[in-house]
């Protein structure tokens, strides 16, 4: 057997092993989702086998306006807080990249602080600090959006910073400057289009964190602005099948949002390669 044929066979074996390994990991990750889904389809499951099959949980959920409202609120919370954080960070990072690089360390320190904050401490701190101040900040909704903006700060910061470093944003701005372009315009026209992928990926992570939060939403807004996690908690005592159905739908919604963003990202990438 020639060396080339051997190498090709080794390559095929490695490729097959990699596929098997990935399939096992995917299966492992899907187990909780699939079992929750199966559980949500049965009437009673107190014995070895369930007593019957039903779509009742889903029918009840889909006809429940409160459920849809809580999904909608959660999406609004995700989009608005993540969007605010992205805009604030992009402006701040412009200053770091194009005006004063030394501020980068201070930015990093500030943006890492929320990692150390537990949800309970953050929510109680915000409530005790702003309640009764008579300003717009004492509004519970403003508090909630503000809290999520802080919560997702480190994740989005890291994504934007890594993307900026990967394209050497400072050098690109300088190159654009030498072609008669102002710094901010260069940041918008040259740098931002090249870090969109990084922003999208980090915002996905941030979105899933906001989607999964219960503590901040419950402590700060409670039933005034019920998100999906608070809705889940409120319905947990009613029926375990219903709770499972809610969890399945949370999975699907997060999955749909993720798939949409990734699709958009790969579409941008493809058109660039062509």
């Amino acid at each position: 057997m020639s060396a080339n044929a051997k190498a090709a066979r080794n390559g095929r074996t490695t490729s097959l092993a990699a596929k098997i390994f990935l399939a096992i990991v995917a299966l492992y990750l899907l187990v909780p989702f699939v079992t929750t889904f199966i559980y949500s389809l049965f009437v009673e499951w107190t014995d070895v086998l369930p007593s019957g099959f039903t779509l009742r949980n889903y029918i009840e959920l889909f006809s429940n306006v409160t459920f849809w409202s809580s999904i909608g609120r959660t999406l609004v919370l995700c989009l608005v807080s993540v969007a605010i954080t992205i805009v604030l960070l992009l402006l701040a990072m412009y200053v770091v990249v194009a005006v004063n690089r030394k501020l980068g360390r201070a930015m990093q320190f500030i943006c890492m602080i929320p990692y150390a904050l537990q949800g309970v401490i953050l929510s109680i701190g915000i409530i005790s600090l702003y309640t009764g101040t008579g300003t717009i900040l004492s509004n519970r909704m403003v508090m909630l959006f503000g809290a999520y903006t802080i919560l997702v700060l480190p994740y989005i910061y890291q994504g934007i910073r890594n993307a900026l470093n990967a394209i050497d944003a400072e050098m690109l701005i300088q190159a654009a400057e030498m072609l008669g372009c102002g710094r901010f315009r260069a940041y918008v026209q040259v740098v931002l289009p090249n870090i969109i992928s990084g922003i999208l990926v980090s915002s996905l992570l941030a979105e899933s964190i906001v989607f999964g939060d219960f503590v901040l939403a419950n402590n700060i807004a409670g039933t005034n602005y019920q998100n999906i996690q608070v809705f889940l908690q409120a319905n947990m005592d009613r029926s375990s099948g219903l709770s499972s159905a809610i969890v399945v739908i949370i999975f699907l919604v997060v999955g749909a949002v993720t798939a949409t963003v990734l699709k958009l990202q790969s579409g941008t990438q493809k058109s660039k390669e062509e």
Binding site: I167, D168, M171, L172, Q174, A175, A176, E177, M178, L179, G180, C181, G182, R183, V190, P193, N194, K272, E273
Partner: protein, 346 residues
């Protein structure tokens, strides 16, 4: 008055003085090379001229106008960076058109100029390619086209060829020089490669530790180094202390000077040379040899002194290590240079 003038330019980063009272002029249409080892301040001076760095003291004049405080985007200076710095989200055509769009040039003029620039740097067929799909040489040519298409007053090249392989590098050196002469474009080229500086420049400004060590045409700088640093950085001169040279040749050397001799000026023979008029003839032993393209560099020991001697690489006429040889050193090629503190350049 020169086209570009640096007046007593000082640049400090904290306590570190990178440019130490630099003053010189550049004539219109010249290609001037700022040559020197890493960290000598040559790129910093280029960046001060571009406006990407502000000078700490002094002033810079371009065509009679003081541009010291003018923002980089308003100086009409083109620059090619070492890392190419093409915009990854734009194809070759869009990259080249970027500067023209900033100048609000009409679209039909942009199209024509972009086409001409692409032809000039020989990138025809790559108009729609993105930087990620171009080789290093193609990226550098696209960057060059992007910089010259706006017809800048000055073109700055910051070590643009340092990441490119030797063969392509030589062809790009020639192409850049051709384009520069064709457009009569005043160009400043930064490099640490003395061969590159020799090939491309009208004038070389040799930098050392934030100061200009020597300025002149490539031939002047090569044949008449004014300091030990210049001699060691340009041309691999043999540098001999006064005592060493006097002991080796018996000739006298002015006090406070060292002697610099270029390796290629020394003739190496197996037998005592017949015509020794105007030469110091010494006997030595070959210690080793290194092929350097068409030249063979011998290391020859003459007493306590080791000399580098270059000879044309003829495979039928080589000296073996341990072989006794005669060296004829022309007297007029022995340069007496004021002794400085530094003996070796980077």
């Amino acid at each position: 008055m020169s086209y570009i003038e640096f007046h007593d330019v000082v640049k400090r980063f904290g306590d570190n003085t990178v440019l130490d009272h630099i003053s010189f002029g550049i004539e219109k249409g010249d290609l001037v090379t700022l040559l020197g080892p890493s960290g000598c301040g040559k790129s910093t001076l280029l960046r001060c001229l571009s406006g990407l760095e502000q000078v700490s003291e002094g002033s810079i004049l371009l065509d009679g106008a003081d541009i010291t405080d003018v923002p980089a985007s308003k100086r009409n200076i083109g620059m090619v960076f070492q890392q190419y710095s093409l915009f990854p989200n734009m194809n070759v055509e869009q990259n080249i058109a970027f500067g023209l769009k900033m100048q609000k040039v009409p679209q039909d003029v942009i199209d024509r100029k972009v086409r001409e620039a692409i032809d000039m740097v020989e990138l025809t067929g790559k108009e729609k390619a993105y930087p990620a799909n171009l080789s290093g040489g193609q990226q550098q040519r696209a960057a060059l086209a992007r910089s010259i298409v706006t017809e800048p007053a000055v073109l700055l090249l910051d070590e643009p060829l340092s990441a490119i392989d030797a063969k392509l590098r030589r062809s790009l050196q020639a192409r850049i020089r051709e384009i520069q002469q064709e457009l009569n474009l005043t160009t400043i080229f930064v490099t640490h490669d003395q061969d590159e500086a020799m090939v491309m420049s009208d004038v070389i400004q040799l930098f050392h530790a934030g100061r200009i060590e020597q300025a002149g045409t490539p031939v002047e700088v090569y044949t008449k180094p004014v300091s030990e640093f210049a001699a060691s950085f340009i041309g691999s001169y043999n540098q001999l202390a006064r005592d060493e040279f006097q002991a080796m040749t018996g000739a006298s050397v002015p006090a406070g000077h060292v002697v610099a001799v270029r390796p290629e000026t020394i003739a190496i023979t197996a037998d005592s040379p017949a015509d020794v008029a105007g030469c110091h003839v010494v006997r030595g032993t070959v210690a080793g040899s290194t092929p350097r393209g068409n030249v063979l560099r011998y290391t020859v020991r003459v007493g306590a002194v080791t000399l580098r001697v270059d000879a044309l690489f003829r495979s039928f006429h080589m000296f073996e290590p341990g072989q006794d040889v005669y060296l004829a050193i022309p007297e007029h090629d022995c340069l007496f240079i004021p002794a400085g503190a530094l003996r070796d350049a980077a």
